[in-house]
Symmetry: C2
Subunit: 398 residues, 2 copies
Amino acid sequence: MYKNKLARRVKQMENGELAGLMGLIDRDDIISFAGGIPDECIFPHEQLCEITESLFEKLGSKVFQYSSTEGNRELREYLVDFLAERGIKTSFDELIITTGSQQGLDLVSKIFIDPGDIVFTEKPGYVGGIGAIKSYEAELIGIDMESDGINVEQLETELKRCSFEGRKAKFIYLVPDYSNPSGIRLSLEKRIRILELAEEYDFYILEDTPYSELTYYHETIPYIKALDKNRRVILMGTFSKFFIPGLRVAWICAEKELIDVFSRAKQNADLASNSFGQFLLTEAGRRGLLDEQLQRVLPYYKERMEAMDRALNKYMPEEVSWFDVKGGFFYWLKLPSNVTGRELFRKAIERRVAFVTGNSFFPVDSDGDNYIRLSFSKTPVDDIDKGIERLAGLIRDF
Amino acid sequence: MYKNKLARRVKQMENGELAGLMGLIDRDDIISFAGGIPDECIFPHEQLCEITESLFEKLGSKVFQYSSTEGNRELREYLVDFLAERGIKTSFDELIITTGSQQGLDLVSKIFIDPGDIVFTEKPGYVGGIGAIKSYEAELIGIDMESDGINVEQLETELKRCSFEGRKAKFIYLVPDYSNPSGIRLSLEKRIRILELAEEYDFYILEDTPYSELTYYHETIPYIKALDKNRRVILMGTFSKFFIPGLRVAWICAEKELIDVFSRAKQNADLASNSFGQFLLTEAGRRGLLDEQLQRVLPYYKERMEAMDRALNKYMPEEVSWFDVKGGFFYWLKLPSNVTGRELFRKAIERRVAFVTGNSFFPVDSDGDNYIRLSFSKTPVDDIDKGIERLAGLIRDF
């Protein structure tokens, strides 16, 4: 009965395969490179308990009352300082708190995209971004990734083509730092060039920065937003990867007029984000715990990244290739041409090792057949070695 | 720059006036009947602190890790029992946790509505429902409220008209129990009739039940879902009004195939709801605190409702009328024909009393000029008397 009633956009929301695979990867007996989420073993549990207790005492029942739609003012003021340290001058009313960055992706898509509108993104790119953008029926055009970020010549060619057809892009969606799934960082030169193109062809840059703080060799490349002189950048950030994800608290930073539109859209989407999470993060920021925690997680994840790098170099056959990684959570592997990610996955599960197949990271699903994503964030060093050895053996068997 | 890039649907999201008014109503020196939110003074603070502490101990850092998209399984199992007590037989996989009921409204609208699709709702009806539905560009048709719920003859006439035009409604949005803003409860006869019409004209019923538990004279009318033999009802429920709202945890109950579609839509919307809130509610349910709290809030809000009833009868001029109220948070007042809600609001603020003007509760904004909504949930009994006296004086002055 329901099928003939669904909106057209639901056709763009199919990801049954991924959900099906995901069911398998949480089994305890499996070495999983699938999750791509932070490791709860490193969460600052003691301090979070302490802060919670002090909030209950200090704020009483306010902790459980509705928040405003724009979010806790003190938290937004903390973020103003956080961004100032990163070269971005802003004010609290240029920020809105979102229910995770995924909500940011949804709100940006909702307020900009009419069916058929053009949006650009990385190819491969973040599955949640692709999902949100496609769910509003955009024409999503993927731009190939190179070792220093998207191919800007290709972007320009596409922009020219669109312009020739009398069409404009609404925005480009980028994860410039250690992108998911490629692990690639966008070079300074390309950041500057993309800003120039945004000005020339009149589109927004949606800069999503979940991994920007997770830079294991302290490479400093400024946020695109920090280079932005013409308000071309809508910046999204989150506490989920370097701090804790379960609170579902993230933020968008943009010109005030746009924040007002986001606020109206958020009112329709979930009224407000959860209050406890906002109070907790505000206090964690005030006490310096966010900075402190960042210093704790950097060596923790770096060790795992290096373990994966070593294992890949040691075990993988020559026909397998990957990009160099210096931050974030991911390696992106190109398999030999006779091996598809889906086939490998089925065999890997039998050998009790898991990962994510490449297809979901492409605007057009069938493009990613030869790729897989490996995450090292949740896997202990010994398991990383064991798991990669098993995987390499399976690839050789093909 | 941003204006020429916004999606068409943003035009449907304008509510600048309401937001502007809302800025005024949280001042301490004002007697406010505006909020329509539960009173944090009655939240079970001590017990919530205790539960939190025990969760931190029992679950450790899992409390701060991502949840699944469908939500905590134990919480859904608790809801199965909760609904069974209310005559609704369901199972955990017919439930999905949402980030507040507002997200439920957004997801239902997103998966069903293509631009121009017909949706019915109460007139006056909940502003957040109207907002979500309009934001997906539905043609929203309001059905007049009578003292026992929507006018079902009018609904049938509209259904016939649509059918004659070759168009079908996707769903009707109802708050059957003590609706916001009217305070009206839908009669059993009308519930049955609407189910028949849903079958005859092939549409869904979106049953939103934030106030269903807040029945101050223990009137028992079954949920529409409990009368539903043909899976016509999508049921939404929340802990926000009778327990605490700041966690942003609510739920949708529907056939499994629809839950799968909601799950894909939610993945794009915010990945998952916050984990802490879900764990806290699960444990509160398990310990019987939800039931206990319901017994505490019923006399608390009933006293305020009766105070408002007394004050209205005592002070209001004869030309002001309202529906009888037996549950929920609201009174809906029709003003004398020479008084508009907006004019009254401006004078009321000067006299330090606030409410919400009627316009935002109508699909077409200009329809509510002569109405105002009064909420008694956050206002102490003495202030209710004082505030209504002031308001009545102002109305007489016109």
